[in-house]
């Protein structure tokens, strides 16, 4: 199963993400585009999720049909779930659930943050929430494949 790291250089924090059994083709495309960098944001409606709204897929375009992928509602997903939203062509959104969510929209799950890194993930989530609502610090997130 493929693995990748999410790293926030300004925060000096990173988490390991392990591929899951669902949507491996989607994960392959995501990983084939790494290393890739995006502006880190936060979900503002559905609950405690990190949300990168513009992940560039410039090497391998995303061309899977919706019917080829399994969906999951974030409210039902485990803490640490990494999912895609609107993946198409050269762009996708990427969300990571770090605490409770009520979000009952469909997402495309591709990976899971390692159990040992869940506390780090929560710290990043809280700092990003502070950024969104108060400090406006800009955090970039980097995704890189791990062999």
């Amino acid at each position: 199963m493929k693995k990748f790291k999410m790293r926030w250089p300004a925060l000096k924090m990173e988490v390991m993400c392990d591929g899951i059994s669902e949507n491996q083709e989607a994960l392959d495309i995501l990983v084939d585009n790494m290393p890739v960098k995006a502006i880190q944001g936060h979900e503002m409606v559905g609950g405690w999720m990190l949300r990168a709204r513009a992940v560039h897929l410039q090497k391998v375009p995303f061309e899977l049909e919706a019917a080829q992928m399994k969906n999951e509602k974030m409210k039902d997903a485990p803490i640490g779930r990494v999912s895609l939203l609107f993946p198409q062509g050269g762009t996708t959104e990427l969300l990571v659930k770090y605490d409770a969510c009520v979000d009952d929209r469909d997402y495309i799950p591709v990976a899971q943050v390692a159990e040992k890194d869940l506390e780090v993930l929560k710290k990043v989530g809280r700092l990003q929430w502070q950024s969104a609502t108060r400090t406006k610090e800009i955090y970039h997130v980097e995704f890189m494949e791990v062999e």
Partner: protein, 173 residues
């Protein structure tokens, strides 16, 4: 303008604004400057709300869905063109009125080019560039949106609502 030139311009902008906040977003959402004379009664909340929504509709909602459907064999180039002209202009117009000048200009150039394109392949290349641009704008707008205002409008709990209901009569004393 040649569509490849427009695509190249958008691609270059996409690379630039990954690191640097777009001027449209800084001007409107950070510095609260609106050069269109929009903002009824001199209030910025309207352009923020409408501008953010329209910007999200152009890229992550409309163009995403057009590109997604265009990838299916049953959709013809003419249908892709019609969907684009049906969906985009009003959202682009709203984004422009709300100060998203560069975004609107690039989207309008895409629309102008689409008139002369004949193949789905070329249309998809151009639309995909705009989709990424719209997603970048969406990301930066979400960053600079002054979400802290929301602290003044916290969603009340059920207990607070019941309490408000029982004390309602006091406001008429």
């Amino acid at each position: 303008m040649d569509w490849k030139t427009v695509k190249k311009t958008i691609d270059e902008e996409n690379a630039r604004i990954l690191k640097t906040p777009p001027e449209d977003v800084l001007r409107v959402f950070k510095y609260e400057i609106l050069e269109t004379e929009g903002g009824t009664g001199g209030l910025m909340l309207g352009p923020w709300f409408e501008g953010a929504t329209a910007s999200r509709y152009v890229g992550p909602y409309y163009v995403y869905n057009i590109v997604k459907l265009a990838g299916l064999p049953g959709y013809t180039a003419q249908q892709v063109k019609e969907m684009t002209f049906q969906l985009l202009p009003k959202a682009v117009g709203t984004a422009k009125l709300c100060g998203m000048a560069t975004y609107a200009e690039l989207a309008q150039k895409v629309l102008d080019c689409m008139k002369d394109l004949d193949t789905k392949e070329d249309m998809l290349k151009l639309l995909n560039a705009l989709y990424l641009y719209g997603s970048n704008m969406n990301a930066w707008i979400h960053h600079y949106m002054k979400w802290g205002i929301g602290q003044a409008f916290r969603i009340p709990t059920r207990e607070e609502l019941v309490d408000m209901g029982t004390r309602n009569v006091e406001s008429f004393v």
